[in-house]
């Protein structure tokens, strides 16, 4: 519990009550909720269904057994999709739940798509099957996604600025990488996907494994990103979070026009 939360939940009684409520719900949840993607919870049925779904939707690029698909096209070796051995359930969840996979149109990078064509259950089973291909990162425990309850945004911000801001920008607005690739905006991304992105390092993003950034670190990073975006833009229009670039455009186009407009108007007022 950090100092801030304590202050916000002033009258101590309410704070205590809330804490209690939290502990109880958290405890109940932990007791009854199935651990997603944890190997134990996976049934053989699920894995078989996952394999079938995979072979129908993904095999063209990733190979029938997820071994990857490389083929000669016009004399040069092209990779249609990498091997998924060791990619882990977390990678499948991230890729499919953000709509990146199955890749619709190959470009410089797989894009986030808002319309997901698969049921959660189907995604879970594909993930379960891919997890059997080789040891890889599993879905994170709920404990590490509870940024509201136990995340430390201040600490997370420091980690964020030295590990993520160089690509995603300090405002989390995204940034350009080389050759048309880019780090996307983090606004509105689900906590679990932020976690899985760090864990699996999609495409040009580096992998931040658990020795790199501990699960606590990851949770704090999520807390920071979420809190920062929750504050919004206290100063008015955020201008896209693109800092001086957007401000300059605004000053030159809007600011200058209304100033000159006023000057012209005043100029027409004679004596």
């Amino acid at each position: 519990m950090n100092a801030l939360a304590a202050r916000r939940r002033h009258p101590a009684a309410i704070a205590l009550l809330l804490m209690l409520a939290l502990v109880v719900t958290g405890g109940l949840y932990a007791a009854f909720a199935p651990k997603p993607a944890a190997a134990a919870a996976v049934t053989a049925d699920q894995v078989a269904q996952g394999k079938a779904l995979f072979q129908a939707n993904c095999a063209s690029c990733h190979g029938l057994n997820g071994e990857g698909n490389e083929a000669e096209v016009g004399g040069e070796l092209r990779s249609f999709g990498p091997s998924l051995v060791g990619a882990g359930a977390a990678a499948v969840h991230f890729q499919m739940e953000t709509g990146r996979m199955p890749l619709a149109n190959p470009g410089v990078q797989a894009q986030r798509v808002s319309k997901i064509k698969f049921e959660q259950e189907e995604i879970d089973s594909i993930a379960a099957w891919v997890a059997t291909l080789g040891p890889g990162p599993a879905r994170p425990d709920e404990e590490w996604l509870d940024w509201e309850g136990s995340g430390d945004a201040g600490r997370g911000g420091t980690i964020y600025r030295s590990n993520c801001a160089m690509c995603h920008s300090s405002a989390g607005a995204g940034g350009a990488l080389t050759r048309g690739k880019y780090a996307p905006s983090l606004e509105g991304v689900e906590p679990v996907h932020i976690y899985e992105a760090m864990l699996t390092g999609p495409q040009n993003m580096p992998v931040f494994n658990d020795t790199n950034l501990t699960p606590e670190d990851k949770r704090d990073v999520i807390a920071y990103v979420k809190q920062m975006h929750a504050v919004g833009n206290p100063g008015g229009l955020g201008l896209g979070g693109f800092g001086p670039a957007a401000e300059a455009l605004f000053a030159w186009v809007f600011g200058l026009s209304i100033m000159i407009g006023t000057a012209v108007w005043l100029g027409q007022k004679g004596a």
């Binding site: 100092a3 945004a153 206290p234 100063g235 401000e247 012209v264 004596a271």
Partner: protein, 577 residues
């Protein structure tokens, strides 16, 4: 060697003008009451009377300088408010203010106090935003003001000195802006300071000593923010205000220029007296500028320092840009190839950085400041100019100006190549390659296009003066020929179109004198002649009274005349000037 217009051809049209009423000056009657009391002690009445009776011409483009001036004043007022709470210290503190995502973070007092101004001091965020928007608008409007002065030739004698003062103001303005931008000690401002330190390090041999002295040790040290603070709130504003008072006083002393038009000559000023009209307008305009800036600041967020977090030398952020007026330099750095760096005798020389910073920055402002003198050298024109040029009537100057703006803009845009790439879905590598070529080619192209447009407009003006407006009425002659009736321009409109200067390109004297000896300065003359040809060879001359008479005389069978404008120096025009 060269010769310039002594009198305008069209001046003859005004031979019978009434004498002009001039602002009476000097003699002020004895004042009574409080005014008299003050005057007895200060002798101010005479000066005030002079100022109040001054006449200013009215045109919106003359108010651009005012926008700059008022924005500067808005900055001074809001800046004073900010000093009440800002703590210019790099001492460490733990943040415990009300911005949740940074609570418990170790940061400098400068950054913490800026967060406090933004979140915990009533009206603080609004004032901060007004201050920053006003600063941006200050430099935007002074730049546009400068363009106005440039494209209308208002920098010509006797105003060259004021142009130079203006250039110094422009340079100081960006230094002031940069200093202010660096004060909050957030991640962006620290990154900017780091870049600045890098620039200084590229000064050969002594660079590291200068950087060490400025920062009071290694980067970032503890000194730079207190020092920048002193510069930002005291030193530079004092010089800025002092210089801009001199600047505006010089405008009063030289009198304001005016656009050509009926009744306007090089010897008068047509407009409103300061009292009451101009003063009321100017005063009102101040409040409008202040109000509009406040409105912008109330609705649009600027420099959200809280999202950047405190400066930490180990962190960087994507999309790190300085404020726009530093872009051209940063952009040049992004375009310069990295391989032009070498080591001699253990010293590393970094032209890849130096060219875009410690060379480019002073270079731009030196060229700017020198322009009036260069143009005067080329034209050899020693007369005073109080009538402005319409930009089309100085096609080469207008082209050169547009080319310069283009080059500057390409460099500036190169500084936001990452933002452009992500917004337009382009590859940053392609963009950089494009900018590398564009910075050389686009200015040339723009020069050429601008000049063509100017010449076209001038031809159109000539056409109008000679043949009048098309009325759309088609007339059939008894012989069965058709022609469209043209209506003559009224003399007022015509006056505006014919009163401008043209110059004869300088003819080169032989490089050797009669005895076959090489003349002194022959090479310089050759350059000057070449530039003069570049500026004036294909210019279009204003319609002379003789041409006008001929056009009228000819009625409508005047096709023969149309070519005259483009011909090289028809005799009667040359003789006339």
């Amino acid at each position: 060697m060269s010769e310039t217009t002594a009198s305008r051809p069209a001046a003859a049209l005004r031979a019978d003008d009434k004498p002009i009423e001039r602002a009476p000056q000097g003699a002020v009657g004895k004042l009574g009451g409080v005014a008299g009391w003050v005057d007895d002690r200060t002798r101010a009445a005479k000066g005030v009377n002079y100022l109040l009776r001054k006449v200013f011409p009215d045109h919106w483009s003359f108010m651009l300088g005012e926008i700059a001036m008022y924005s500067l004043i808005v900055c001074l007022l809001t800046g004073a408010f900010l000093t009440f709470w800002f703590v210019p210290s790099m001492g460490q503190t733990v943040y415990d203010g009300s911005y949740i995502p940074l609570q418990g973070v170790v940061m400098s007092e400068a950054y913490a106090s800026t967060l406090d101004i933004s979140f915990d001091i009533k009206g603080g965020l609004l004032i901060r935003q007004i201050h920053h928007w006003a600063a941006l608008m200050f430099i935007v409007s002074l730049s546009v003001h400068m363009m106005r002065v440039f494209f209308t030739g208002a920098f010509r004698k006797p105003r060259e000195l004021n142009w130079v003062i203006g250039t110094v103001l422009a340079l100081l303005a960006i230094v002031e802006g940069f200093a202010g931008y660096s004060l909050p000690d957030d991640l962006l401002s620290g990154t900017g300071l780091r870049a600045m330190q890098g620039f200084i390090l590229t000064v050969p041999v002594i660079g590291s000593y200068i950087a060490y002295a400025l920062f009071g040790g290694d980067f970032p040290g503890e000194m730079i923010i207190p020092r920048l603070y002193a510069a930002h709130v005291l030193l530079i504003p004092a010089i800025l205000v002092g210089l801009f008072i001199v600047h505006v006083t010089m405008v009063a002393v030289n009198k304001h220029t005016q656009y050509p038009g009926p009744g306007k000559t090089n010897d008068n000023v047509v407009g409103y007296r300061v009292m009451p009209v101009y003063a009321a307008k100017a005063g009102g305009f101040f409040f409008l500028v202040f109000g509009l800036t406040a409105l912008i600041a109330a609705f649009a967020q600027i420099n959200a320092i809280w999202v950047h977090g405190p400066y930490d030398p180990s962190a960087v952020t994507a999309g790190a840009q300085p404020d726009w007026y530093m872009w051209f330099s940063d952009g040049a750095l992004r375009l310069l190839p990295g391989w032009i760096e070498f080591t001699v005798f253990g010293f590393t020389f970094s032209p890849n950085i130096a060219i875009g910073s410690i060379i480019l920055l002073p270079l731009v402002y030196t060229v700017l400041g020198a322009y009036p003198f260069v143009e005067r050298w080329i034209t050899g024109d020693d007369r005073e100019h109080h009538l402005l040029d319409r930009p089309r009537n100085a096609p080469t100057r207008t082209g050169v100006g547009m080319a310069a703006i283009t080059g500057y803009t390409v460099l500036a845009l190169a500084c936001v190549n990452d933002i452009i790439a992500i917004k337009l879905g382009m590859s940053i590598n392609d963009l950089t390659r494009f900018f590398r070529v564009a910075v050389f080619l686009l200015p040339i192209l723009v020069f050429w296009i601008t000049k063509r447009i100017c010449l076209g407009l001038q031809r159109h003006d000539r056409e109008l003066v000679l043949h009048g407006r098309e009325t759309g009425t088609v007339i059939r002659t008894p012989e069965g020929r058709f022609f469209e009736r043209h209506e003559d321009l009224d003399p007022y409109t015509r006056w505006r179109l014919v009163s401008f200067d043209t110059y004869r390109p300088i003819e080169l004297e032989p490089a050797t004198d009669a005895n076959g000896l090489v003349r002194k300065g022959a090479r310089k003359d050759r350059l000057r002649a070449a530039l003069s040809r570049f500026y004036f060879t294909d210019q279009i001359h204003p319609v002379t009274p003789a041409e006008l008479a001929a056009a009228h005389h000819d009625g409508h069978g005047h096709e023969a005349l149309e070519g005259a404008a483009e011909e090289e120096y028809p005799e009667q025009i040359g003789a006339d000037r």
